[in-house]
Amino acid sequence: MPDSVLLLTLIVLPFVASIGAGLLPTGARDTASALAGAVALIGLGMVWAAYPAISEGTVLRAEFAWMPSLGLNFVLRMDGFAWLFCGLITGIGALVVLYARYYMSSEDPVPRFFAFLLAFMGAMTGVVISGNLIQLAFFWELTSLFSFLLIGYWHHLAAARDGARMALTITATGGLSLFAGILVLGHIVGSYDLDAVLAAGDRIREHALYLPALLLIVLGALTKSAQFPFHFWLPHAMAAPTPVSAYLHSATLVKAGVFLLARLWPAMAGTDAWTWTVGLAGLITMLIGAYIAIFQNDLKGLLAYSTISHLGLITLLLGLKSELALVAAIFHIINHAAFKCSLFMAAGIIDHETGTRDIRRLSGLNQSMPFTARLAMVAAAAMAGVPLLNGFLSKEMFFAEALSAEAPVSTLLNILPIAAMTASAFSVAYSLRFIHGAFFGPEATDLPRKPHEPATWMRFPVEILVLTCIVVGVLPAATVGPFLSLAVHSVLGNHVPYYSLAVWHGFNLPLLMSVVAMVAGILLYLLLQRRLRSDVEGPPVIWRLEGQRIFERVMVFVSWRLARRLEAVLGTRRLQPQLRLLVGIAILAGATAAWWRGFGPGNLPPSPVDPVLLLIWVVGGACSLGAAWLAKFHRLAALILVGGAGLVVCITFVWFSAPDLALTQLTVEVVTTVLLLLGLRWLPKRVQLPGERGPEVLSRTRRLRDLALATGAGLGMAALAYATMTRTPPDLLARHFLARAYTEGGGTNVVNVILVDFRGFDTLGEIFVVAAVALTTYALLRRFRPAQDSVEIPEQQRDQAATDANEAGRAEPGRVADWLLVPFTLTRLLFPVMLIVAMYLLLRGHDLPGGGFSAGMVVAIAIILQYMIGGTEWTEDRLRLRPQLWVGAGLLLAAGTGLAAWLFGRPFMTSYFAYGELPIIGKVPMASALIFDIGVFALVVGATLLMLVALAHQSVRAHRAAPRRAATEAGDD
């Protein structure tokens, strides 16, 4: 089988099967477990198939391009070490699947469970056979993710949710740190390829960035392997179904951390920094984990802390500067997987059969489930390091290393043997507690369920694992020896030290230490009997130091309270500060650039001051400042002043030879004023109260700040304008347009030719803006709901209605019709006049000031005038306006004119003009631009009316609603 097929099958199959399992129906327990089991066995088969090549020292490798430009390829790489892990993953995986089939309730929707388990298997495989470190980080995070899903499988339980959340938060954070560390490592080495990195050990250790890389990567490994101070997530992960714990928390997930440390050992280990970080963390974890484990009342909790402790042991071994320690570490990885997995399974059986895992409630199970008890005892003995079991062997190696390792500082060296013995004694104590507490003593009578032996196949995986513990313990060299050698060789290459896997090394110091630890452990357990039976939760001395509590406090503070406070400080949801910032930063941006480079007035001699325009701008400035002053309490005045300022702008345009601008400005001015007046009716009355004058200190400073900003903006604009105006304007475009407006654009009004031809695309976009706005206002006004105090009919009208009601024989609107009699007549007469003027502006636009826009505005004004004087109903009875139709037709006409050029093989918006000869009329200019302008015209008429009429209709609605409201109010009284 080619390497690539083998490796791909190994990694892809679990994911594919995971999707398959996820799609199974809820009740398909057998199908799902069969699928999962088959995948694990196939994987195991693949591992088996790879053995011949691996045993020859070949590294299986398959590489696929992924992001080659960034040095990221999908590399699958299996050496002896990876092979060993693959064996653990698939082999123990198969056993766990079998166990889970019986453990999980038939009511449980297990296909989901197996889907997660399979995906996890794939991710874990990915971690161990990644040949690219980025890819390793990729799968690393996936293991966190799927372990999260597995831990939270029973998400209806709060403990499961919390445990899952904590596990993911910590391991994924570690994963991100690992990712960063790998990036730094890649920067040092110049490649993320594992082989390249492993080959560059010396360069890495000497690089300035070694320490950051080391810290980041170690952080990732320690979090994953539940090392102090990140250990606390693991006990909470016990909320997962027991098969999950048996798989993830003994053999796979938590081993990923130590796997990584071992993997990178040749590249990164061997420095003081390494020993201090990795070794110290392992040492502390080993002790704390073992100590706490003694005081756990939950069987799984005990096993969890024991796992922490054993992983601490492995980490400590990896942290030492010794090849032999590495051998011991790898050996213990295997051993721990076997005994811990079987113990988890045993704990699960107890839980399954009795309904509880509380050591204090359990008792005398030896009677009801003797076979399980034997199995558990053997496994626990292996955990305690009893001779002739696998745990003893690696423990002996550890003791030997503790005595001989070279530590960076002698103090560490001195405490190592003592620490090793202490931890070992603790592990004896908690192993005793596990066995003694659950299986011995009088038979418990108040258990939730009546205990009996589990189903045969549920016990089978435990039997296999316990058997392994015994066989390895008795015949280490013959059984595990070759595999261990393979793994060690693939990590250390040529530097493998001599080590012996014999059961008996003669009477030596390590053996003495073992005996002492054993005796001390038994004594400790006996001493603690009373305390352990009491209801006191947690270990003495450090019971307050609960990692979870601290973690949650910190998380709530940092990620919620602090974040909210910071968001309030650094951000705002109010408009005024946002605008202040925007204006302020714009001023700053301009000022900084100006200050950096400096700009002064240009060299153009200033044109002589026209006293008339000067005076006009005195008026304009007064209007502008007046509007700013009065806008709060005298809205109408402000509006009128804006009108005045607009008029000044309009005159300025005239002054500087821009009649088109003047016309447009004027029409826009009028329509805007009418619009704002229409809106004024719906705003609250705002009158200046006597008390409102004196501004408080706070608001005074705020006003001063705003005044400064406004002054800054004004001065800035003035400076910018003056500097621009006094520079010779570049005239390339101007020349071009002036020269070609008539000859190539067919019009004498250059501005209009630019608008409808040279830059007609701008105009096309512009009318779509108008259309979009009109549609939006229409849509918004359809849902308009006036404020409570604006709903009522204005008092003017109510007063008049009351007066009219007193007059017999006069209908309510009578008076109004009277006052409006003359204006009514005159404005109706003006209607056709305005239309004719509009046509005039439209048709001559290309050659003379005018054009579609101003013409459209005039028509809209003409119509709105009728609305104003005649009233909505009257006008709409007579003029059937379909503003939306005008809008649509206008847009299509304008766009269609642009499109028509395609028919002639020209680009969009290419114009066409010619002078046609017509009888009687004579020469007639025919320009496609005119049709375009007519489109603009139609759109402007439609859009303006759509907005104005929609706004006007609100009054009609209010009038209709008012009597209704009056009626209901009367009914309420």
Binding site: D799, T803, A808, W819, V822, P823, L826, T827
Partner: protein, 122 residues
């Protein structure tokens, strides 16, 4: 201003006079806006500008362009016509609005609402 040089003196003098007269009337009207005491007095002031004021200037403009272009320019008539038609609309609405507001405040300056007329029998 270049074209003005081409204007014969006989035309220039009346054009100048008319322009000054018109502008003067408009100014006087606007001064009235400042000087006159009540709103109802002030409402008369701008009509100086809207009638004779603009009329004189338009006449000047007609004269100026007609002589220069040696043909009649009659555009300006339109402005006059528009002014005549539009001014009453504004002023009537405005006067009426002021009347309403003053009555509302019970001002003694304005006449009260006329007594109810006898119902008209059809």
């Amino acid at each position: 201003m270049n074209q003005a040089a081409d204007l014969p003196l006989w035309a220039a003098l009346p054009v100048a006079a008319l322009v000054l007269l018109g502008a003067g009337l408009a100014l006087v009207g606007s001064i009235g806006l400042l000087k006159l005491r009540s709103f109802y007095d002030r409402i008369h002031a701008p009509t100086l500008g809207t009638t004779l004021g603009i009329g004189c200037v338009l006449l000047a403009s007609m004269l100026f362009f007609s002589v220069l272009q040696t043909r009649f320019v009659l555009h300006e008539i339109l402005i006059t016509a528009f002014m005549v038609v539009t001014t009453p609309v504004t002023l009537m609405l405005l006067a009426r609005a002021a009347l309403y507001r003053d009555r509302q405040e019970g001002s003694a300056e304005v006449p009260p609402v006329p007594p109810a007329a006898p119902p008209v029998k059809e």
